[in-house]
Structures are given as structure tokens and as C-alpha cells.
């Protein structure tokens, strides 16, 4: 699809807004619909659209395969790590009440950290699966 002018122009115009929408869904998930899972899929969708329009090599320049494959376990580690930090502060696993100055703030920070973990794992897993399919197809 590299030669299709309309697709290229429309993709170039919409790609930044897709990433912006993913970030909005991620950081606005506390107030409106959405969260780490949805934001991760939308961010991965941006990279996949980029790969479909401009080719897999261009996509690997903005999301290198080695980095993506390392981010897959990192998200789970961020999530579980937040739980272990809770353990170290003297409460139960995944209890965020001592992560902040008081219990409600601690819960707010804990939810934020956990959502970041979900975002990292979901987006990188989707991109890594897509790369694996493309590699196999060649």
C-alpha cells in the first residue's frame, strides 16, 4: 500500500491523533471510560496501521522489535512490583493504602501505577504478535 496516495495522506493525518487518543484514554481512565487495556490496544493499533501503510521496516523504526519484546514482561513486573511495594510498606499484596501521604492518595497512585503496567504489557504484546505474524508470512 506504499504507493496509495490517499491512504498515505489520511494515515499521516490520523496517526498522531490515534496516539493522542490512546494517551487520553490512559490518563483519563480515572474520570471517564477506558484505562490501560483500551489505551494499550489503541496505541498498538497505531503502530499496526503505520506498518500496514508504510511497511514493516518503517514501523520497526518507531517501535523496535527488541524493545517491544522486552516491554512484554516489563508491564507485568510493574503491576506485580506495585503489589510488592505494598507488601514492603507493611500491608497486603496489592494494597495501595500506604503508597501516598494518606490512604485515598495511596490508592490513587497505586491505580495509576497498575494501569501503566497494563498499558505496557497490552500494547507491546499486540505489537509483538503482529511482528511475529509478519515475519512468518515473509
Amino acid at each position: 500500500m506504499k504507493r496509495d496516495l490517499i491512504l498515505r495522506v489520511i494515515a499521516k493525518l490520523t496517526l498522531p491523533f490515534m496516539l493522542l487518543f490512546a494517551l487520553y484514554v490512559q490518563f483519563h481512565g480515572e474520570l471517564g471510560p477506558g484505562g490501560g487495556f483500551q489505551a494499550g490496544v489503541i496505541a498498538a493499533g497505531m503502530v499496526i496501521l503505520h506498518a500496514l501503510i508504510f511497511g514493516i521496516r518503517e514501523a520497526k523504526r518507531i517501535a523496535p522489535q527488541a524493545l517491544v519484546e522486552r516491554l512484554v514482561p516489563l508491564g507485568v513486573l510493574i503491576y506485580a512490583g506495585t503489589g510488592i511495594v505494598g507488601l514492603l510498606t507493611g500491608v497486603n499484596f496489592l494494597d495501595y493504602s500506604r503508597l501516598g501521604p494518606d490512604s485515598p492518595h495511596g490508592h490513587e497512585y497505586g491505580i495509576f501505577a497498575v494501569e501503566v503496567g497494563v498499558l505496557v504489557t497490552v500494547s507491546s504484546t499486540m505489537i509483538a504478535i503482529f511482528y511475529a505474524f509478519v515475519e512468518r508470512g515473509r
Binding site: V25, P104, V122, A132, F133, E135
Partner: protein, 190 residues
Amino acid sequence: MEALINMALLTLLAVVTVGIARQRNLFGAIILAGIYSFLMASLLVVLDAVDVAMTEASVGAGVSTVFLLAALHLARSMEQKPHHSPVLPMVVAVGVGAALFWGTVGLAPFGTPDNVIHKHVAPKYLADSLKETMVPNVVTSTLADYRGYDTLGETTVIFTAGVGVMLLLKGRRRRKAEAQSAKARSEAAQ
């Protein structure tokens, strides 16, 4: 009005389902599956489950359609004729469907507010979420805090699925490369 929208969406869902079952061309089946997910997302919006609708639209209609098309790229595009008779699967499908239908008879009417599941922990979450977690969206606080273990498990499932697909799709190529390098080494030794 809402009933009308529901009826239209459910009718379209039924039509698309029959279309998927009858479709022998896998490309058409994948596109119909994407349409099915999108209709499902619209239905979830009507049910006021916006978070789930967003997930269904992005995962069901978006990414899984791309993955299925990528998988189709590795396979043949026409469905093969099954080698066995379709009678046994038909009996199993009708049996399971009948059991599920029988199960719905025992459920409380749709949307009953004093249903058992709405009286357990849900009122506490709805009342205390903002006070306890400073997060106004109860869906987020339930997923990430009150039910944090479940979401950790869910994230681990995504991780496991990704690792599994990567191992399956990359495995043989690496083995071939290893065999080649071993061959090169043995040749160099001679």
C-alpha cells in the same frame, strides 16, 4: 426508542451470525466477525457499559480482525470440507444451546435492581469508591483496586498469550538457523 435500537442491533447480530456460519470464504468470515464485534460494541453502548464497549470495539473489531487477516495470510483462504459427518457437532451445539436457554429461564428479569448480584459488594463499591480511592470512575477503581488480583491475572494472561504466539511462530525458523549454523560449524571442522 431504546427497545427499537436493541431490536435492530440484535436482528443484525443474528443475520451476521448466520452469515459467518454459512460463509466458506475465510476472508469474508473474518470481515463478518469484525462487523459482529462492532454491532456488539454498539449494543454495549446502549446497555451503558461504555468501558466494555470500548474494549470490544478496539480488541474485537480492530486488533483481532488484523490478527485473523495476518493468520489468513499464512493459510489457505477457503474453508476445507470437513472429513466427518456434521451430525455429532450439530447434536452437541443444539444440546448446549438448549441448556443455556433453559438456564436463562431461572435468571431474574433483565435490569432488576434488587437482583442478588446487585446486593453483594456492588453498593459498597459505588458508595465508597470516590472516598477510598479518589477515582470517580467506579469501573477503574473496581478493576485496578478492589479487584486488583483479577486484573493482575488478566495482564498475566495477555503476557502468556503473547509469549505463546511468539514461540509458535518464531520457533521453527530459529531451529532452521541453528541447524544451518551447526552444519556450517561441522563443515568448518572438516
